[in-house]
């Protein structure tokens, strides 16, 4: 019994950022900041985290998805800048009506599965590139104005976003 409570407490400590995000969402949906809503929100977030860890997951994945609020904020700002710059780049193609579309095979330097998925979704969200298929760290990207055969195929990946994720991946490998 005592060890059971201890493992539950360790789960809660490892997932503290998820609990903070869920409580903020609860309070925002109620549109009222008082003691009752904050208390019920915290209770619901703790129950959701315990239920998910106990019944829905088959192992401990905390080390792979604890990205951290500061890294996530920096990533979101950088992603917004990349999206708007790429959107401005695409405008001449729309007005003239000419498009040169092809499918390119390229490879990222990331190893973790969740981070590769995050990068693939970011590639899809920027105008001009759509990820078609992924296996391991090989991505097939449908690209507009693609680099020629003698140039580097990694130009279609937004390299600054990959640099942020690689910096994060080096920190978790040292810890786990």
């Amino acid at each position: 019994m005592k060890t059971y409570i201890k493992t539950m407490w360790e789960d809660l400590v490892q997932n503290k950022e998820v609990i903070i995000i869920l409580s903020v969402v609860w309070v925002v949906l109620f549109e009222e900041l008082s003691f009752a809503t904050l208390f019920v929100g915290l209770l619901m977030a703790v129950l959701v985290v315990l239920f998910t860890d106990r019944f829905l997951l088959k192992g401990n994945y905390e080390h792979s998805y604890m990205i951290g609020l500061f890294t996530l904020f920096k990533y979101a700002l950088r992603l917004l800048v990349e999206i708007i710059m790429a959107g401005i780049d695409v405008i001449p193609n729309i007005i003239t009506g000419k498009a040169d579309v092809q499918i390119i095979q390229c490879e990222t330097k990331l190893k973790d599965e969740l981070l590769i998925d995050l990068l693939a979704n970011s590639i899809t969200l920027t105008p001009g590139t759509v990820t078609v298929e992924k296996s391991g760290s090989q991505l097939r990207v449908l690209a507009l104005n693609a680099p020629a055969k003698d140039e580097d195929a990694r130009d279609v990946i937004p390299l600054k976003l990959e640099a942020i994720l690689m910096h994060y991946e080096s920190t978790i490998e040292g810890k786990a």
């Binding site: 949906l29 959107g87 498009a99 579309v101 092809q102 590139t129 759509v130």
Partner: protein, 101 residues
């Protein structure tokens, strides 16, 4: 001061409307499915994000803005999955383009 913030927010909303108009114009401009989804649908997403940011800036720091931010976060998470699903369905079902490497 409040008037200046409202003018800036209106300018941002008009820029977003321009992006959205380019997306809707580009969907009739091309005659190939892959060009359409590459150019026009994604520019439409840029317009959506810009309009939402303008509305958040116009409304100020409030619970209403928090809800708008929640809608924006949900859209940014779910939109690439939907686009990827459509494109993968077309690719698996045998829609091909000329150049591939």
């Amino acid at each position: 001061m409040a008037q200046i913030i409202i003018w800036i927010a209106n300018t941002i909303i008009i820029i977003g409307l321009l992006f959205m108009a380019l997306g809707v114009f580009g969907i009739y401009q091309f005659n190939d499915y892959f060009s359409r989804i590459l150019v026009s649908a994604k520019v439409d997403t840029v317009g959506f994000i810009t309009i939402m940011l303008g509305l958040i800036l116009k409304h100020g720091f409030d619970f209403f803005s928090g809800k708008l931010l929640l809608v924006l976060a949900l859209y940014v998470i779910t939109n690439p999955i939907a686009t990827h699903a459509i494109t993968r369905s077309a690719h698996i079902s045998g829609y091909r383009i000329k150049k591939e490497r």
